[in-house]
């Protein structure tokens, strides 16, 4: 897996619409929006795109249309967006990875085929679990069967790069159910899999259920067992683990997500999206209505930004890079910051090495197996004041 060149960049486009709200979700998304709202939103998004004046000089290597549920947008809208990108940059999007997130139950073959014709060449589907009772409990808007049908339809529509998401550590989930979920998704023969441990985010219905004792998370070390079992199963099935939660068939890694971990530039389009370029991180207005109003009033949609000091940027580079299975390249670090990671963080890295949490492999510094289990412990060494 070769690293993106330092100047390669990506474009993230946020589509904040869903059919219903999943209990664990704290993404920027709204429900109950109709065709007219979609149109006004995409209009605003195109305005925002037009008003972006500075474009990175390197190659655009990836576009990621995430959400929410982008597949709720009619193919025409997706087409308008991608067309606008082509026009403004004056390039063909031929070699560019263009991912779209979709939810089973919102797509069929003909709709998917239209997305494909507009240029989308990678599809990410939220399967989450292989038991309808879990899907219902999570308030997912689809069944297991619909998930399987969605994958089938995507294949028929010409997608040869498909990711599926699964969640483990669900309330009342058993190890056997998790095994079944793994077997189920492997049977769909995806090109890429993300296995996420359930995160309980403050203020979500799930958090409330747990507080009130109406649901309980798997006891003790069960989630850890699920994580280990997931990794084993996928490796056995020929998948390559390349990041803490991500696995792929050889060469089918997400080029887009890797840009985040290698700290390449990415621009942000749409409500709540985040961009990063030249040590600056900015974010777009979260509220859909406020976003639209801001653009209609001639604004650029930006809600806030932070500047990373050089030291901060280096530290972030390390902990983000360590998320990747292979770790981060010392040479690339030196190319970007003109200093060796050991010169900048020798004591910290040395300490982590002594505790058996990081290791060096030729020009890469990476987490050991134990380091992967305790990744946050390692990452905390690279944030905040010491």
């Amino acid at each position: 897996m070769t690293n993106p060149s330092l100047s390669d960049w990506g474009l993230y486009i946020h589509i904040p619409f869903c059919r219903s709200r999943c209990t664990y979700c704290d993404f920027n998304t709204v429900i109950g929006m109709g065709e007219e709202d979609h149109r006004r939103y995409v209009d605003a998004l195109l305005l925002q795109w037009q008003r972006i004046s500075a474009i990175p000089r390197g190659n655009l290597v990836s576009i990621f249309i995430g959400g929410g549920t982008p597949s709720l947008l009619a193919p025409d809208h997706i087409d308008r967006i991608l067309e606008a990108v082509r026009r403004k940059l004056g390039i063909s999007l031929e070699g560019v990875e263009i991912t779209m997130e979709a939810n089973p139950g919102t797509v069929n073959e003909s709709r998917l085929h239209k997305y494909r014709l507009s240029g989308v060449n990678r599809l990410s589907l939220g399967v989450q679990a292989w038991q309808n009772h879990h899907l219902q409990r999570l308030k997912r808007a689809h069944s297991v069967l619909e998930a399987a049908q969605g994958v089938e339809a995507a294949r028929l529509a010409g997608f040869d790069n498909i990711n599926l998401d699964l969640i483990y550590g669900l309330p009342q989930q058993t190890l056997a159910e998790w095994e079944d979920s793994l077997t189920g998704v492997l049977g769909l023969n995806p090109d890429h899999l993300s296995l996420y441990q359930l995160q309980v985010e403050e203020g979500t219905p799930l958090a409330v259920q747990l507080q009130r004792g109406r649901a309980s998370l798997p006891a003790g070390d069960m989630s850890a067992d699920m994580a280990d079992r997931g990794r084993e199963r996928l490796i056995e099935a020929g998948f390559v683990p390349y990041e803490i939660s991500n696995y792929c068939r050889p060469n089918k890694h997400s080029r887009h997500n890797r840009l985040y971990w290698t700290m390449n530039p990415y621009l942000a389009l749409g409500a709540g999206a985040h961009g990063y370029w030249n040590a600056r991180r900015w974010w777009i207005i979260r509220g859909v209505r406020r976003y639209i109003e801001d653009l209609q009033a001639g604004g650029n949609g930006i809600a806030g930004e932070e500047r990373l000091e050089r030291l901060e940027e280096m530290r972030e580079y390390i902990w983000l890079g360590l998320r990747e299975e292979g770790g981060f390249s010392r040479n690339r670090f030196r190319d970007k910051f003109s200093i060796n990671p050991e010169s900048a963080f020798g004591a910290v890295l040395g300490g982590l090495h002594r505790r058996g949490l990081v290791e060096r492999q030729s020009e890469y510094i990476r987490l050991t197996g134990r380091g992967r289990d305790l990744a946050n412990y390692v990452f905390r060494e690279f944030v905040g004041s010491s």
Partner: protein
């Protein structure tokens, strides 16, 4: 003001019988504060007092009152009711000639009613009984009158009051004037004033609260503290109405405060006598019996760099709280801190909270313990106020623990339940008497260490809230006590050591390591926890090594948020104390408090 027109009095009562509310009414009735300025329990000025609805500090306020065409100056001192603050009450009483004893018309005489009455009698005060809350539907003033007669007061002359509705207020004030004797100091003698409290003000320095006994004090006077010999020029004199209001002098019998740019806290001692530097009095006034702290706890700053600030804060609090003691100590686990002595647990709680709130300190408090008298085999006798410093059992001849005389007043149907509780706490039965037909008073000798934690809560819950409780210091008595140590990762953690009765030590040790197992977060490696008595391990638990600590997702939109989350976790870890290589959260150090014996 002529002494014959001054009355200094105090209000004493069992908790919640309505002292503060009565004080409010007196302040209002005399026009000291207008209705608009009034707030309920106006004298409870500390934030903490208002929140908890209790009076912690004695408060003084001057009231102007006209009676039968004459003008009087009444100085009212409101006092705390909780047993921990008996010392405050006692000091306040020394500045008075009379006391209003408030009794709740529905509750009747309670344990602290008696304790406070005896205290007032010890100070030779005139006691005026006030039966309050006569507006309550279940008020039974006649029964209270009988109870008063039973305890030796003239119940028939008690004033019938509803502090809530303002009934009987004028009568109360009139009786204060007619029954409380005026002060009888020597107006022509040299100044002698008793310091009954003090407080630090960042602009004016130490504010010294005094009662002038002889002579008078003026702005510009050069004064001297008789105990310390320190000398200052009086810059400001004031009285409380109840807000500090400046006046030009305080004459014989009056109560007020002065400021004299006193910057060093050590110069003023509560109980000391103030006199004039140029013409000092020969004899100081009798001071106070120093209060003996019986409960000790280690106070450590979470940030070791706050040690100096903690010392300053303790010094300032001590000014205002003469019963607080402290001296530096070092703990292998917690670093540099102080071993502080308190009158009881509520006192400790209040001090800790004031340190955190008013001085913005973040503290680790070790579980409190009582002080022990230890007779060594070599004939020496030592006092041990820190369990970690208890000598090895081989060197000990005998350990003596502090005992208190406890009186419990309870409806007679709960006598059995109360006796059972007292027995569980190793109490020694003394006697039982009846206050009236339904209520009995039980006297026990109890180890202070056994009533420190949840005795009062237990008493309340086993008597449906009806029992009341008070105690006085008794004596040190030999007991079969052992030192219980906790080892974390093989090392004794001094801050966890405790003294326990041999019969209870095993169970304590077990429950404590179980508790700690749940409180200590998982570390990179397995952490053994052990409880040991005299070097012999009696219980063992393990905090299993952390399996996983991973953020599942981290994409473009999350990075800032995830970084903040990691930063927050890191801050949380920093607030833990690292002992050996094990990180221990602050709550763990208080865990001993919540370990029960069953």
């Amino acid at each position: 003001m002529k002494q014959s027109e001054i009355r200094n009095f105090s209000i004493i009562a069992h908790i919640d019988h309505g002292k503060s509310t009565l004080a409010d009414r007196l302040i209002e009735y005399t026009g000291t504060l207008s209705a608009r300025e009034m707030a309920p329990q106006v004298l409870d000025s500390m934030e903490l007092e208002r929140e908890r609805g209790i009076t912690i500090k004695a408060q003084a306020v001057r009231l102007d009152y006209e009676h039968e065409g004459r003008h009087y100056e009444l100085n009212l001192i409101d006092t705390p009711g909780h047993v921990d603050f008996t010392y405050e009450v006692s000091r306040a009483l020394q500045a008075c000639e009379g006391a209003l004893l408030v009794i709740d018309a529905a509750q009747g005489v309670e344990a602290q009613t008696l304790a406070n009455l005896y205290l007032a009698l010890e100070h030779d005060l005139t006691v005026i009984p006030v039966i309050n809350k006569i507006d309550l539907p279940n008020a039974n003033p006649e029964k209270v009158q009988e109870e008063l007669i039973e305890i030796g007061l003239d119940g028939t002359e008690a004033i019938m009051v509803s502090a809530k509705l303002g009934i009987g207020i004028d009568e109360t004030l009139a009786l204060v004037v007619s029954r409380v004797p005026p002060p009888h100091g020597d107006e022509n003698a040299v100044l002698r004033a008793l310091i009954f409290d003090s407080r630090f003000d960042s602009y004016k320095g130490v504010l010294v609260y005094i009662r002038v006994v002889d002579g008078s004090l003026r702005v510009g006077d050069q004064i001297r503290f008789m105990a310390t010999g320190a000398s200052f020029e009086v810059a400001e004199i004031g009285v409380f109405r109840p807000h500090p209001t400046t006046v030009s002098s305080l004459t014989t019998g009056e109560v007020g405060y002065f400021a004299a740019s006193i910057k060093t806290v050590q110069d003023t001692h509560v109980g000391d006598t103030v006199t004039l530097a140029a013409n000092p009095a020969e004899e100081p006034l009798p001071g106070y019996r120093p209060a003996q702290p019986m409960v000790f706890s280690g106070l450590y700053p979470v940030e070791s760099s706050d040690y100096g600030r903690l010392r300053e804060a303790l010094e300032k609090l001590q000014l205002n709280d003469a019963s607080l003691t402290f001296e530096p100590e070092t703990s292998a686990a917690l670093g540099f801190g102080f071993r502080a002595g308190f009158l009881g647990l509520l006192h400790l709680d209040v001090v800790q909270e004031r340190l955190e709130r008013e001085y913005n300190l973040s503290l680790i408090t070790t579980a409190p313990n009582v002080v022990y008298q230890v007779h060594l085999t070599n004939g020496e006798e030592i006092r041990v106020d820190n369990p970690a410093l208890m000598p090895p059992s081989g060197e000990i001849q005998e350990i003596r623990e502090p005992m208190v005389n406890a009186s419990i007043i309870t409806p007679s149907e709960y006598i059995g339940a109360v006796m059972e509780l007292a027995q569980e706490r190793r109490g020694i039965y003394k006697d039982l008497s009846y206050i009236d037909k339904q209520r009995a008073m039980l006297n026990y000798l109890l180890p202070l260490g056994e009533i420190m934690f949840d005795f009062f809560d237990q008493l309340k819950s086993r008597t449906r809230g009806y029992a009341s409780f008070d105690y006085q210091w008794s004596d040190f008595v030999p007991a079969d006590l052992v030192r219980l140590d906790i080892l974390i990762n093989g090392e004794v953690v001094d801050a966890f050591s405790m003294i326990a009765h041999r019969d209870k030590a095993y169970q304590r040790g077990r429950s404590l390591v179980e508790k700690l197992r749940d409180l200590i977060p998982r570390q990179l490696f397995d952490v053994p926890l052990q409880a040991a008595i005299g070097g012999r391990v009696i219980a063992r638990e393990t905090v299993k090594a952390m399996r996983k600590d991973v953020l599942a997702k981290c994409y473009g939109g999350d990075i800032t948020r995830k970084r903040k989350l990691l930063e927050k976790q890191k801050e949380g870890k920093k607030r833990m104390k690292s002992v050996g290589s094990v990180e221990i959260p602050q709550e763990a150090f208080m865990a001993i408090l919540r370990v029960d014996d069953k």
